[in-house]
Amino acid sequence: MQLDLKKGSRSYQLAILIVIIMAVFVVRLFYLQVIKHGYYVGLANNEQLKQLVIPAKRGEIYAMDGTSPVPVVLNETVYTVFADPKVITTSKEIIDTIQRVAGGNARPNLEGLLAKKESRYQILATKVTRKQAELMKNANLKGIGFQEESQRVYPEGQLAAQTLGFVNSEGKGQYGIEEALNDRLTGQDGLLQSVTDVSNVPLTIGNNNINKPAKNGDNVVMTVDRNIQAYSEKALAAGLARTKATNGSVMVMDPQSGKVLAMANLPTYSPAEFNKVQDAAAFNNSTITAPYEPGSDVKTLTMAVGLDKGVVGPNSTYNNTDSIKVEDRTISNATKGQTGNITFQHALNYSLNTGFVTVAERLGDGSNITLQARNTMYDYFHNKFGLGEKTGIELANEAKGTVISPTDEDGGAVRYSNMAFGQGLDVTMVQVCTAFSTIINGGTQYKPTVLAGTTNDDGSVFTPAPAKPAQSGVISPDASNTIRIMVHDARSAFYASSDRKGYYIGGKTGTSQTLENGKYVDDQTVGTYLGYGGDSQATPKYVIMVQVSGKHMNLAGNTDAMPIFTDISNWMIDYMKLQPKG
């Protein structure tokens, strides 16, 4: 068929008009579909594509229960119940249901909240459990909504609160292992990008769908044994009640591996209610964050240095006059009367300062704490034992402490004479425990750790963490053997009757002066006890360090800290199923 339109005819004009209109359409469509393609695709994607974050589950935290991990921090889904007062018609029914089901989690004055008709969002109850939320949903209350959130739960309550830390309202770990391992525990959120329907159900249509699954945080297992931790906390609480001390800490460590078995601190708090804590000091794990002058328990380290360098032995003697002059200062013994030619074992038994200043002198020229003596002490204390340096334990806010170098202006003979009996240096309990473990385990330094390993997602398979590198030969096995016996004899000299028969227990008291505004004060001392125990002389099974303190309180190592050590030590023997020998 051939159209034969006459020019100028109405049909011809109509054809021209149609062609022009079509041309306008084509140009407009070209503009919309080709030139503005990207813009309209963007608009369409905004409308149709939804990006949903798939939240990663925060890793759970386990403690050991003997040889099995048990959960101490878990996640629980809870709900916030909210209302839209504008659409609510049955206030009484809603109030009755929420008060009956949510109980203490319901907010006060529900009637007042629901009366705020100008508001579209009022929170009626928080932290409602899934069961409670289901009961409310089943009541078919109009205008009520539920907002899901995850919260940390602590089935063991306050147990090891400072070691665990807590998770703040922004989901970030604070203090303890929660903060130190926050990145590992957090995991990585996933992403779901998809075309959705009006109910936000993701549909498979479209070319730009992304489904990146969330990577849950690691479930970490601590070396802390919940039974030892619980008993340590109990013994410490009893000890503080007995002595009236206000603050106390206990650390229990495996000297053969550096694993921390317990870290107890008082005052404490409940991690589930961290927002109710009045004094933030309760969050601190004093065993790692609070350096102090540990006092006479450091004499065991000084003696170990002397033994390792071969300048003294347990039966070597010195002339004790109850005081010793170092440069322009006179250092006196706290215990008087053990004068004359006495052995270093005797000096350790009675914790005589003069004996250990003498050891420091013998590291030099025999009568002065020379630079050589100070260098030797610094090399052992700081470089080998790790005093005054962070141990790298997997907990937040570890303090470094201070050990003054001999090259420092303040690192003279007087400073080092004080360091020989545990004053003039600031160290943390974990540093002292690590150093003490090193000198009694044969001379191997194990890095202290609270990380035993990880578990799989449901906590059923435990994968141990690789062992941290250990430094052997820090002191010789002979020196280690000797100091172990000396510490045992020092304890046995006075406190043998308090130990279980057939076990090998050793320990040393420490009573240290404290500084107030840069000056030592007379009305405030810190009591410390540091010791070990086991079923044989050769292999100590545990190290326990106890510290008690209080504002304007004179607390002593032997009367205030030592009974707590004894209590825990005797319990550990049963718990570890150690058999008596000898």
């Binding site: 048990v70 959960p71 899934r130 739960v153 089935p155 063991e156 309550g157 147990l159 159900v201 498979t204």
Partner: protein, 116 residues
């Protein structure tokens, strides 16, 4: 030089004609014009479109199924987590120590050891 056919060529099909005697040669007398062709093509496109829509709808139906299953998984996971929390609470040291069984336990008056 010329060749002359000496025998009549018959195809194999023709020679088997008797065997396939039920077959018929079909030659329709209906001729389809351009309009019919256009309508048929339009119908085919419509059918193909319907098939596509059916499949797409079915795929979307699976999405709803998947969503329902995902919801069930999430619900069961929440219930499992709740049970784990409950289990942890019930086996917590405080609960164990305060249990009726623990309260009835007494310290042994004598301890014997099996020699190693």
């Amino acid at each position: 030089m010329s060749y002359q056919r000496t025998t009549q060529f018959s195809s194999r099909r023709d020679s088997n004609w008797n065997r396939n005697q039920n077959t018929t040669r079909f030659a329709s007398n209906i001729k389809l014009g351009p309009v019919t062709h256009t309508v048929l093509v339009a119908l085919m496109i419509t059918v193909l479109g319907l098939i596509y829509l059916t499949q797409a709808t079915r795929a979307t139906g699976y999405d709803y199924e998947a969503q329902k299953i995902d919801s069930q998984i999430a619900d069961l996971t929440t219930k499992k987590t709740d049970l784990e929390v409950e289990n942890a609470r019930l086996t917590a040291l405080d609960n164990v120590q305060n249990s009726s069984v623990a309260r009835q336990m007494t310290s042994p008056s004598e301890t014997s050891y099996i020699s190693e």
